[in-house]
């Protein structure tokens, strides 16, 4: 039953009112949700069909009101002002109705086709709030539907309400909010002038709404009416008069009136069920522990430690299984293919690269399990609250903690998540230090290296890398605070949602989604990268040799075999391989940039791994796997990459390499995200240079300290 007529529905509501959960439920999609304000920072659209209609749903970032100014709030407000939807779905947090209705009081004045969703109705019931949806619906001028988007309760009624709203051609009359006499008189005067200036262009409802918005000081609309100097002048005068008469700004008068309206609305449509409330306030109990003045911070650190530790240790077992599986496939496929170029490409290129990376899948899945718990439980906002003061000392905003923690998963969504920070400057710093946070893509490098060089304390080594990553983001912030010009004062005001138990379904989904993401990367950039790398290592074949290797080897083969001759022959072969490598495309590139990495005592292989990591950090491990694949074949017993690697550098150099890999240039996807969020290539370029310099300097320091100590 494909929909015939299409209609756009805008989802609007407070941050953390569950708009995205509802959106996913209606469209059968799986966009990320979480229990902290502003998970959605960009407008997303999807469609679903019902009856003969196709509904195009637009999930807008959450807003508390229509007159504020963070980037994602403006994008939602512009969407409304430009009337890009025909129907509005106002999602209200039923457990937090009074504040939710404030936004509603601004929306209903516009006189649009609206459907009101009392979302998370279970939380209102939990608070023993009985809501008369009928009565509320009459007063709001649109259907009110009680919904629980976890269980699906009320969704059918909501779809039906949308259909009847879509069929209804005319918009309802705007709700008139009872402003006090002075305010109402001012609104009427401004409205009159608007009607004179835009004759016949607006309905009375629209002109009244515009008058209210202008008097409220809506920047975007004031700009829009910019050419009507006369109107702006009048608005300014009225605002001043009102402020003087009432002792308070105009906006405050409007806000007072709106909240009074909300109060009346609530008094008329809902009652609190009588008797004592028998429930336990779990949020208060958990907060008493998790926000404890002494225990709160240590608990947060402990939870982080637990996450990192479990990711490493629990991942080891399945990692061994996958490793064995890969080895088995390699043998099987290698045996099937005839010796030659194709065999080498498949075994030493594809299987080595893909197999070398896929073994880290368990670690990634476990890490994202923790990330899901973090974001869905409501704990992230608590962590931001606990850390605000400490982070402030380093020049970071408390809210920057949320993107920092998200960064342990992936830096790209983390950079986007900085949008919740209101101050431009604080936001820029949060963006620029985020790439220092050890993301899931870099984790395999450290697991591999920690196992190879520090096998007796591998878990501590990985944890140390996490600590360095956190410290460097703090240090980076201190540095940036010195460099960037001071801006306006910043503030920290953040809603703390009640704790919610993450559902098994959403946890599973979160892990599945990220596992698929990782596998897609393996099937894409890593597969292609491994093949390209193999080609670049093997070609060109027409090298002008410095020695006639082929001739010499042939001659030796004619002579009777002695141990000395065998030794000489294998040495000659090694020499030839070295020369071939040095002349390959890869060798040439590595030689060109080698001077940069020579002071870090890194070999050409490490250099290549670093270069490939510029695309995506997952490729670093794949590169090592490809670069060492032939040696693994030649080695007498099947030695692992770990063992081969452990002989190539000293622990100090290995440590320097780890730190370098942690900090150097963000991957392409992150650079793109930085450009988009910081607004210019300038900052993306700065981020590349900044992280490169820091990475190199620190690695250089480590190598030299190591040399001095050993």
């Amino acid at each position: 039953m494909a929909g015939g007529k299409e209609i756009t529905v805008g989802l609007i509501g407070n941050p953390n009112s569950g708009k995205t959960s509802l959106f996913n439920r209606l469209c059968h999609s799986k966009d990320p949700v979480g229990n902290y304000p502003r998970v959605t920072v960009a407008i997303r659209e999807r469609t679903f069909d019902h009856a003969e209609w196709t509904f195009r749903l637009a999930d807008l970032p959450g807003v508390y009101a229509l007159t504020t100014q963070t980037p994602e709030e403006s994008s939602a407000r512009d969407y409304i002002h430009e009337e890009r939807a025909q129907i509005w779905m106002n999602v209200l947090d039923a457990g937090n109705l009074e504040r939710s209705l404030y936004l509603t009081s601004q929306l209903v004045e516009m006189g649009r086709r609206m459907v009101f969703v009392l979302n998370m109705i279970d939380e209102a019931e939990y608070k023993r709030l009985v809501i008369d949806a009928e009565a509320l619906s009459r007063r709001l001028g649109g259907p009110v539907i009680k919904v629980n988007s976890i269980t699906g309760q009320g969704l059918e009624a909501l779809r039906a309400a949308l259909v009847s709203m879509a069929q209804q051609e005319r918009a309802p009359a705007p709700v008139i909010i009872d402003y006090d006499d002075h305010l109402a008189a001012a609104v009427t005067r401004v409205q009159q002038l608007i009607v004179d200036l835009h004759p016949d262009a607006m309905t009375p409802g629209q002109s009244r709404w515009l008058a209210i918005k202008l008097l409220e000081g809506d920047d975007a609309l004031l700009r829009r009416e910019g050419d009507h100097g006369h109107l702006l002048e009048m608005v300014g005068r009225e605002r001043q008069d009102l402020a003087q008469e009432h002792g308070g700004e105009c906006e405050m008068l409007f806000a007072d009136a709106r909240y009074a309206h909300v109060h009346t609305l609530m008094a008329a449509t809902m009652v609190r069920a009588g008797g004592s409330v028998p429930h336990v306030d779990w949020t208060a109990r958990l907060d008493a522990l998790l926000l404890h003045r002494v225990l709160g911070l240590p608990l947060f650190i402990f939870i982080l430690w637990l996450m990192f530790q479990t990711t490493f240790t629990l991942g080891k077992l399945p990692m061994g299984w996958i490793e064995a599986g890969v080895g088995w496939i390699k043998e099987g496929v290698g045996g099937l293919l005839p010796a030659g170029m194709v065999h080498d490409l498949v075994v030493n290129g594809v299987i080595a690269g893909v197999g070398g990376t896929i073994i880290f899948l368990p670690n990634i899945v476990i890490l994202f399990f923790f990330m899901a718990i973090f974001s869905e439980s409501g704990y992230l906002t608590r962590a931001a609250f606990l850390m605000d003061r400490l982070m402030h000392a380093f020049g970071l905003h408390g809210k920057a903690l949320i993107p920092l923690v998200i960064g342990f998963g992936c830096n790209v969504p983390a950079v986007l998540a900085t949008r919740t920070i209101e101050s431009e400057r604080a936001r820029l710093i949060a963006i620029l230090v985020n790439p220092f946070i050890l993301c899931a893509a870099r984790l395999p490098v450290f697991i591999l290296f920690a196992g190879a060089f520090f096998s007796d304390r591998a878990a501590s080594m990985v944890f140390l890398m996490y600590m360095i990553s956190i410290m460097m983001s703090m240090f980076g912030s201190v540095l940036l605070n010195r460099i960037l010009p001071r801006g306006m004062e910043e503030s920290f005001i953040m809603e703390l949602p009640p704790y919610r138990l993450p559902t098994v379904k959403s946890l599973t989904w979160h892990m599945w989604d990220n596992a698929m993401d990782f596998l897609n990367k393996i099937g894409g950039v890593i597969l292609v990268g491994s093949m390209v790398l193999w080609f670049m290592k093997e070609f060109p074949k027409d090298i002008t040799w410095s020695v006639d290797y082929a001739g010499q080897i042939e001659q030796m083969q004619k002579q009777p075999e002695t141990p000395e001759l065998k030794e000489a022959m294998s040495q000659l072969t090694r020499q030839r391989d070295q020369e071939a490598l040095a002349n390959s495309y890869l060798g040439r590139i590595a030689r060109t940039v080698a001077p940069i990495f020579a002071p870090l005592e890194l070999s050409w292989r490490d250099t290549v791994a670093i270069l490939t990591g510029l695309m995506a950090k997952e490729v670093v491990v794949a590169s090592y796997a490809v670069l060492y694949s032939e040696e693994r074949e030649q080695a007498a017993e099947s030695s692992s990459l770990r063992e081969l690697l452990s002989k190539t550098m000293s622990p100090w150099v290995a440590f320097a390499f780890m730190v370098f890999t942690l900090l150097y240039t963000p991957c392409l996807a992150t650079i793109a995200a930085i450009r988009r969020e910081a607004g210019s290539w300038k900052w993306a370029g700065f981020s590349v240079g900044f992280s490169m310099v820091i990475a190199w300097s620190l690695a250089f320091l480590i190598v030299n300290v190591g040399r001095w100590l050993t």
Partner: protein
């Protein structure tokens, strides 16, 4: 329009800023100070005149703090709380 504080200091002698509210005490919002955008943000969150606000928890170093307003929890830095005038109940 920036002298809201003066015009509001009229009747009550128990007026203070939210930053000074002792733990476990409830107060009523009396007014807001500071720039327009900051005020708008606070108003949208329910910090309007007459609403009750109570101090719930302090962060490890006393700043920021969590308050209950309109039945939900809101954390506010001390610097921001200084811009919120309240009168004790």
């Amino acid at each position: 329009m920036f002298n809201a504080s003066q015009s509001q200091d009229n009747n009550s002698d128990s007026k203070m800023t939210l930053a000074e509210l002792p733990a476990g005490r409830t107060a009523r919002i009396a007014g807001l100070l500071g720039d327009d955008l900051g005020k708008r943000r606070l108003m949208a969150l329910g910090l309007v005149r007459g609403k009750e606000i109570a101090l719930e928890t302090k962060a490890p170093m006393g700043d920021p703090r969590i308050y209950t307003i309109l039945g939900y929890r809101l954390s506010i830095r001390q610097d921001d709380a200084k811009k919120i005038l309240v009168s004790a109940i």
